[in-house]
């Protein structure tokens, strides 16, 4: 059966829009998709919050939940402690809700795209198989090269437009749909878990998200079920001056397993765009969740203009004993990134792992890291962070490892390596370690190195050009993390590493 038939079209989104999004795979990421948008008025206030809730046909309890979050948001200050500098965001000068209305013309020809960007994406080798499936490409599902199936939920600006492989997932008892659908169809699950990992008042951006989140993905894996395929969400910010606030909620019930992929793209704009997502993961007894992100938002141009401001709160709660979570992220995009995927290790013998590659070039700034909060006995965590800076970029790793009094016999191992390309960039490592019992152990290793001229010359003497040589050396530096990614993503990530460092040497 063609994937096309399996794409569930969300109500309120017309067929042309769906077709347009299906074609995401056929144009390049930098393309400003020519779709007429329906906007809510600029700015945020209780009326806008109500309007978003109404557009999503939400029940009353959800509207109230949002309004409470908004009330809270007006009382807290924007944080400024992260090592990033950016012009103050005017939160009243953003659109908080935009959805594709209809598409007047078919996508325009490739000639209209900035050739620089086009060249970038050509090298990237996208479309991905997932996008092909979403695009309804004949036979994409059976493409042998990648073997595994991946179910995709695509979020286009504020709205989830379709989810593939619904029927097959349903057979396994897996729920994979947009969060707005989950609020309507599975209120008992949403009520129980939403905000239980990232409380409404957690931080400035999370609180704003709680008030205005427009859509996102929802996953529930029932007890004992190993999800039969990878689940994936593609986020794309298209409309100008529009903030994207998705909300992802993943629940892995007892003894279940799921691998979840998140990919992000945005067109090139000279005005900055805001992205403030919240991801909550609940992992019950003996369950395991792998969450991988390849983030390739537009980073701003070589002069530091434009780009996505990425303020994201991601947290996994290992509630059950022997539960396990693994975060893997490759961050190459965004102008400003502020992001700390965290693990709450509550269950006994629960485990958290964090593997990260953060690449910053030109004027990009990244302040990322993780928090490992050990609450249960015999819990384990492992952090492997690879930061690469080039151009005038600043890259900060900030990691918190906290061993609570009851987390007896717990272990953390942190390895944090920075690589510098050129001498105008910077890398910073800021570890925070709190150990409140005497049977736990925390190990931290940090290194900073430069891309070595001798390595580059050696590669070039063998015939590689300078960029290829840098890419090879940097991919070698990142190997431990690349290995932690699912196969399809690892290939894409390797190419991204090469592309995001172009022009960084010489």
């Amino acid at each position: 059966m063609a994937a096309l038939d399996q794409t569930q079209v969300k109500e309120g989104v017309d067929q042309e829009t769906v077709d347009a999004v299906r074609e995401v795979g056929t144009y390049k990421y930098g393309w400003d998709t020519d779709i007429e948008m329906e906007y809510a008025p600029k700015g945020v206030n209780p009326d806008i919050v109500r309007l978003i809730s109404e557009k999503n046909e939400e029940p009353e309890w959800m509207t109230e939940w949002r309004l409470a979050a908004f009330e809270r948001w007006t009382q807290i200050e924007e944080p400024n402690w992260a090592m990033v500098n950016y012009p103050k965001i005017d939160f009243q000068d953003q659109y908080y809700y935009a959805r594709p209305k209809s598409m007047e013309e078919k996508p325009k020809s490739l000639d209209e795209v900035d050739p620089k960007l086009l060249a970038t994406y050509e090298k990237l080798g996208i479309p991905l198989k997932e996008q092909m499936i979403l695009a309804g490409v004949e036979g994409a599902e059976d493409a042998p090269a990648e073997g595994r199936k991946v179910a995709v939920d695509a979020v286009f600006d504020s709205v989830s437009v379709g989810t593939t492989f619904q029927a097959e997932l349903k057979k396994a008892g897996v729920i994979f749909c947009s969060i707005s659908e989950a609020i309507r169809e599975h209120p008992e699950l949403v009520k129980k878990y939403l905000g239980s990992v990232v409380p409404v008042s957690d931080n400035f951006y999370a609180t704003l998200n709680s008030a205005v989140f427009s859509d996102g993905s929802f996953v529930y894996i029932p007890p004992g079920v190993r999800c039969p395929m990878e689940l994936s969400t593609y986020f794309r910010i298209n409309a100008e001056n529009t903030g994207q606030f998705e909300r992802t909620l993943i629940i892995a019930d007892k003894g279940s397993y799921v691998s979840y992929l998140e990919g992000c793209t945005a067109p090139q704009r000279d005005t900055a765009q805001l992205h403030a997502a919240v991801v909550e993961i609940i992992i019950e007894e003996d369950a395991e969740v792998k969450y991988s992100t390849v983030q390739n938002w537009f980073p701003g141009d070589e002069n530091g203009k434009g780009g996505i401001y990425n303020f994201v709160t991601k947290r996994a709660d290992c509630r059950g004993d022997r539960s396990k979570v693994m975060w893997t992220q490759v961050e190459t995009g965004s102008a400003v990134t502020w992001k700390y995927p965290s693990c709450i290790l509550r269950g006994e013998e629960s485990q958290g792992e964090f593997y990260s590659i953060a690449i910053t070039n030109n004027y990009q700034q990244a302040d990322t890291g993780t928090k490992m909060v050990h609450l249960g006995k015999n819990t384990k965590s492992r952090i492997v962070s690879k930061g690469i800076s080039a151009g005038k970029a600043q890259n900060t790793y900030r990691g918190l490892v906290s061993m609570h009094p009851k987390a007896k016999n717990s272990r953390n191992y942190t390895q944090c390596d920075s690589l510098l390309i050129g001498d105008k960039c910077g890398a910073h490592t800021v570890p925070y370690i709190e150990v409140k019992n005497n049977s736990s152990r925390v190990e931290h290793e940090a290194t900073t190195s430069k891309v070595d001229d001798d390595q580059l010359f050696y590669c070039r003497q063998r015939g590689m050009d300078e960029e290829e040589a840098v890419a090879l050396v940097v991919n070698g530096f990142c190997k431990d993390v690349l290995q932690a990614l699912p196969m399809e993503f690892a290939m894409e990530a390797q190419q991204l590493v090469a592309i995001s460092l172009e022009g960084s040497v010489g």
Partner: protein, 251 residues
Amino acid sequence: MLEIKNLHVKLEEEEKQILKGVDLTVEAGKVHAIMGPNGSGKSTLSYVLSGRDGYEVTDGSATLDGEDLLEMEPEERAAAGVFLAFQYPVEIPGVGNMTFLRTAVNAQRKARGEDELSAADFLKEVRAKAKSLKIDADMLKRPVNVGFSGGEKKRNEILQMAMLEPKMCILDETDSGLDVDAMKLVAEGVNALRDEGRGFLVITHYQRLLDHIKPDVVHIMADGKIVKTGGPDLALEVENNGYADILAEVN
């Protein structure tokens, strides 16, 4: 094939002249050896020919089949057929030896407008060539030169040379740090590549490598210049009497 004329080279960063007028021609199919005391400029010559940063050519020229090498980027020289077996092979953590080789081979093929080698063909070729150098599958998978013994590093250089099939092979002290068995392996690897169309410049401090790789011409380099040129016997003379006599004679 390789023609070096009156080559003068100084360090880019300081006023230190290292090569002071080197003249040398290596014909296709021939093996030339350069011997000389430490610090005479042998490695510098190999680096300048292959395009390493940090040196400034103040006079003279170097061409390969009439093409000006000194104008080219290092990777262009590689694609044109210049290969340097490094005195100190460089470690590249995290990059598998096989990945490195394949990237290099395909980069050169691409630069020459040839198709990339298919994964299967490449594998077949690497395995056969690795076997004759006693390089096992494990060494092919390990990161480039990381944790390799001295002998493994040098054999790995020869494997790269065998895979890249260069026109002009420059070997810088490939014998240093090798025991007799490893030296034989390396020499066999080099001899297997001897060919009418290929030139060799073998830099060595000691004569013993030249027992296994028989040179056609031997040059003695001292203080940035070729001071004496002769046949294979010249190497034996150095072996027996050291450099002192030759240098005294020249001065």
